[in-house]
């Protein structure tokens, strides 16, 4: 029998607010333990939460960017469970009135992954286990999170990875989170079950907790899919449970203890008041949502003539997309700018975060000047490329590397002289050409280009050489 995967995601994303969700401590990452704490975020008796307005705004923006309906009336609830990383023994979250509901994220195959809801909540602290001792750091406790819950619409590892990437792109684009999975500012819980292809019924699901890499999400899902199928094939039953993924052994294992007999006893937090958002406020936030990556991608293809792949690669990162749009403004063919970005600039941005941060020495305006020069025919493509490389190395403008004489181009006499010289210097190539080897012509032209340091017009040179040897 053939089986299909059915998966849904619960994605936690840390919001890029300055301060925590219920107190004024900084959310900055990487400080010494327990130095970003106050009586409120370590839950001292008598302290009270006060909701960060920006966290609410960011969550609504996340909802708007993922096609959600925004609730005019919302509230905060307590999710009660006792664990040392949770200083109040309850997490302030949202239960039955989340800020955002009924959205979707569209994949490149056109499929919509439906979002059940997006709500805000507080992050927990961090436990470090050393030799059986438990060390606790509450710096992360109280950092605002959104939890994005999807419907079980995902059917393959590829869809899962794209879904996570899309979320990451969208949230980065609208500037509400850096979504750094390795720093924990984006974490996924994957709910996964299997069923015979064609069946409408959902199988028993397991939940793989706290995945913080897209690669591992893929591996864990593949493993878990295989495990569940094997189990059913051999007459067993999938047990509903929470799993941990081990990236060394590439296996999943049961996570008992924390989840033992969960009954969260949700109730409205009496320390916080109703959240009421007007349609006008929602519209104001909607106006802040920039054009999103897939919208840009579409436009780059349909209006700017880029191919799908280039359009996608450029649109994926907000800063690169903006650079591209500025660099190609008023340019005959925007594709030229795209080619420089993908050819010369991408090579210098090795990692995802390099691309995200996009720290390069050249401004979009400088690149545009260079392209204008190229388009005007004053310099050749090779010279433009090498000049861009130098500009990227030094941060200096093209005028540092291209002399007046370069820009003057090459007069006909000089070209003729050079072509003659090329024919004389390459007797073998000339002979080869005459014997029918078309390719040999290229090496003669190449000689001209090299000698002229790229100033010669290759087409004109080729015509002249043909005249001489033809």
């Amino acid at each position: 029998m053939k089986y299909e995967m059915v998966a849904g995601f619960e994605t936690h994303i840390e919001l890029a607010t300055n301060t925590k969700i219920f107190c004024s401590c900084t959310t900055e990452f990487g400080a010494d333990s327990n130095t970003h704490c106050c009586p409120i975020c370590i839950g001292l008796p008598g302290t009270l939460p006060k909701l960060n307005r920006q966290a609410v705004k960011y969550a609504i923006m996340a909802g708007l960017a993922t096609n959600c309906e925004i609730a005019n009336i919302s509230k905060m609830d307590r999710k009660n469970y006792c664990y040392p990383d949770l200083p109040k023994a309850y997490q302030i979250s949202q239960y039955d009135k989340p800020l955002c509901e009924h959205g979707y994220v569209q994949l490149s195959n056109g499929k919509k992954i439906r979002l059940t809801r997006i709500h805000i909540e507080e992050d927990a602290g961090k436990l470090i286990h050393k030799r059986g001792d438990t060390y606790i750091d509450y710096n992360r406790g109280g950092v605002p999170l959104i939890e994005i819950v999807s419907e079980p619409d995902i059917r393959s590892v590829e869809e899962a990875k794209e879904y996570v990437e899309k979320l990451q792109q969208i949230m980065r684009y609208i500037g509400i989170s850096d979504c750094k999975m390795q720093e924990g500012s984006m974490r996924c819980d994957v709910n996964i079950s299997v069923r015979p292809v064609g069946s409408e019924q959902l199988g028993t699901r397991t939940e793989i907790k706290n995945m913080n890499s897209i690669t591992f999400i893929g591996k864990a899902m593949e493993y878990e899919f295989g495990r569940q199928v094997d189990l059913i094939e051999s007459g067993g039953k999938v047990e509903q449970q929470t799993l941990r993924y081990d990236d060394v052994t590439n296996t999943t294992s049961s996570m008992r203890g924390k989840e033992d007999a969960n009954d969260y006893r949700y109730f409205r937090d009496p320390d916080l008041v109703t959240i009421s958002v007007t349609d006008e406020e929602i519209d104001e936030l909607r106006a802040k949502i920039p054009e999103l990556p897939f919208q840009k991608q579409e436009r780059y293809v349909s209006e700017m003539g880029l191919n799908e792949k280039d359009a996608q690669n450029i649109a994926k990162y907000r800063k690169i997309a903006e650079f591209f749009e500025t660099a190609s403004k008023g340019i005959k063919n925007p594709k030229t700018a795209a080619n420089f970005i993908i050819g010369q600039i991408f090579r210098r941005l090795e990692t995802e975060s390099d691309k995200e941060e996009f720290n390069i020495a050249v401004t979009a305006e400088q690149l545009r000047e260079l392209i204008e020069l190229l388009d005007s025919g004053k310099i050749r493509n090779n010279l433009a490329k090498s000049t861009l490389e130098k500009m990227l190395d030094t941060g200096k403008s093209f005028s540092e590397f291209i002399s007046e004489s370069d820009l003057a181009g090459m007069d006909e006499n000089t070209l003729n002289e050079l072509c003659k010289k090329a024919v004389e210097a390459n007797p073998k190539a000339v002979a080869d050409y005459r014997n029918g080897k078309q390719k040999a012509l290229k090496s003669i032209v190449g000689f001209v280009m090299k000698e002229s340091r790229g100033r010669a017009d290759a087409a004109a040179a080729e015509a002249k050489i043909l005249e001489l040897i033809g």
Binding site: P39, I42, G43, L44, P45, G46, T47, L48, P49, K50, L51, R78, N80, C82, P84, P87, K88, A89, Y90, T134, I136, G257, D263, R265, Y266, F267, P270, D271, L272, V273
Partner: protein, 488 residues
């Protein structure tokens, strides 16, 4: 008694009849003498008190004018957070805990040089009606130490009634200010929910808790309330006092005031108490007020509604006592979970455990709708019922407690019996209304009887006005000083 103690002592300080240091010393000495009988204080803070007194004396010497509460010796219930000063809620689980921040009310009062004599006794985590669930043992009634001072703010009431503090701040979740004030023959105000900041008040039941003053006179209660009823940005539910300081309206005429009495409040009330309240009605009639009786059937479910909701909130609020960040931790355990469970089992007393369990039960899967949700909806009905009642009357008059102070040791035997003593006080907390308890007589044993005046939200001025007029009319008939404490 219309002239309160606060103005009296304040004038003495200003006229240099006594220095603040002398006044403070006399209170500290009185505490030393009386506290073994009263067990009102669980922590005395002589150094802090004398330091403040000295600052006040210097100010007087410089000829500066004093704020209304400046230099007045006072106390705080042990669930109000005081920086550097142990704050335990009279629970073993908070043993040794010294807050690193001040409750907003204490921040406000200490900024105007209130002289803190110490922290006072209470039922553990404010759960009780006798102060006897305190890990330090119960506080005694200053009129008869074989009887309880009431609870949960029994220590404050005992100290103020026993003249070992001029005033104190308590907290009232289901009657914890009004009931002990009534038992000790003094005045206690539970303000409108949101009038006084809860920031720094160690939570029992967040949607019911309110800090308020306990004093010997209505004027004093008004002065203290005016000082602490400020909007606080740290408390999302805070709104502050609405309108003028309440002291301004104390002496207003109450001719034509409609005083309502819901008949439900008189059910199951001891005769002596009912009589005292009926006498008060006569006093009010003589002052030109009109007494109107009416039914408030929603009150029938007030007590179970209160216990369900308050315990639900408590079960969540008290989850944080896990031995990790502060307070007591058990000696031996095999893992973190066992450490937490043992710490809690050893650190909490029986009544607190009962309420945590009840709260967990009513919130747990399968019971939520039948208990928590239903109680929440009935809370809505009670809120509306009061709203309607105030269409027809200006204030509501009722007994504070169905009985007078019980003998020590009788309270905790049967939990339900004990819960029933809160029947008259909890409706105010359910609906978030202000209520003030004032003395209105004595029982056959000479123990005080109290009555409460209840107002619509943020109508403290009106109930304090009505209370002041009553106090002024009856004077010493309903008030007697206990044998303890400072007699200056």
């Amino acid at each position: 008694m219309a002239e309160g103690k606060i103005k009296y002592y304040s004038k003495m300080l200003e006229t240099k009849e006594i220095s603040c240091s002398e006044l403070t010393e006399s209170f500290l000495t009185a505490i030393e003498n009386a506290n073994s009988d009263l067990n009102a204080y669980v922590k005395v803070t002589p150094e802090t008190a004398m330091e403040t007194a000295k600052a006040v004396d210097e100010k007087i010497a410089r000829g500066e004018k004093l704020a209304p509460l400046e230099g007045i010796p006072m106390t705080l219930k042990d669930n109000i957070s005081t920086k550097e000063i142990e704050t335990t809620c009279c629970s073993k689980i908070l043993g040794g805990y010294k807050p690193i921040y001040n409750a907003t009310v204490w921040e406000t009062l200490s900024a105007s040089n209130a002289v803190l004599l110490g922290k006072t006794n209470m039922d553990e985590f404010a759960m009780g009606s006798s102060s006897e669930t305190s890990c330090f043992g119960g506080a005694s009634n200053p009129h008869n130490i074989d009887h309880v001072a009431g609870g949960s703010s029994g220590g404050v009431a005992s100290a103020v009634g026993g003249n070992i503090a001029v005033y104190g701040l308590g907290s009232d979740t289901g009657g914890s200010i009004r009931q002990p004030a009534s038992f000790c023959g003094i005045v206690g105000l539970k303000p409108t929910y949101g009038a006084v900041s809860r920031f720094g008040l160690i939570a029992y039941a967040s949607s019911f808790d309110q800090i308020g003053p306990i004093t010997t006179t209505v004027e004093d209660v008004a002065i203290v309330f005016d000082a602490i009823s400020e909007y606080d940005k740290m408390d999302s539910t805070s709104q502050g006092r609405k309108g003028e300081p309440t002291v301004n309206s104390l002496k207003n005429d109450i001719k034509g005031m409609r005083i309502g009495i819901p008949r439900e409040y008189l059910d199951g009330i001891k005769d002596e108490v009912r009589l005292a309240v009926e006498n008060a009605c006569e006093v009010y009639r003589s002052l030109g007020a009109e007494i109107v009786y009416f039914d408030l059937p929603a009150l029938k479910y007030a007590l179970p509604v209160y216990y369900i909701l308050a315990c639900a909130e408590a079960s969540s609020n008290l989850g944080r006592y896990d031995g990790i960040r502060y307070g007591y931790r058990t000696e031996s355990y095999k893992d973190v979970n066992e450490m937490i469970c043992k710490t809690r089992s050893e650190g909490f007393g029986a009544e607190v455990k009962r309420r945590i369990l009840l709260g967990t039960y009513v919130l747990s899967a399968g019971y939520y709708d039948a208990y928590y949700k239903k109680a929440q909806n009935l809370r809505g009905s009670i809120v509306n019922a009061f709203k309607n009642a105030f269409q027809n009357c200006d204030v509501i008059l009722a007994p504070t407690v169905p009985m007078t102070a019980f003998e020590k040791g009788n309270a905790i035997s049967d939990p339900i019996e004990t819960y029933l003593t809160d029947i008259c006080t909890v409706p105010v907390n359910i609906a978030g209304l202000p209520g003030v308890s004032v003395p209105c007589g004595f029982d056959g044993k000479g123990l005080p009887i109290g009555m409460q005046l209840i107002g619509n939200t943020f109508c403290e001025s009106r109930i304090l006005n009505a209370a002041w007029q009553f106090e002024n009319a009856v004077g010493s008939e309903v008030f007697k000083s206990s044998k303890y404490g400072v007699k200056i």
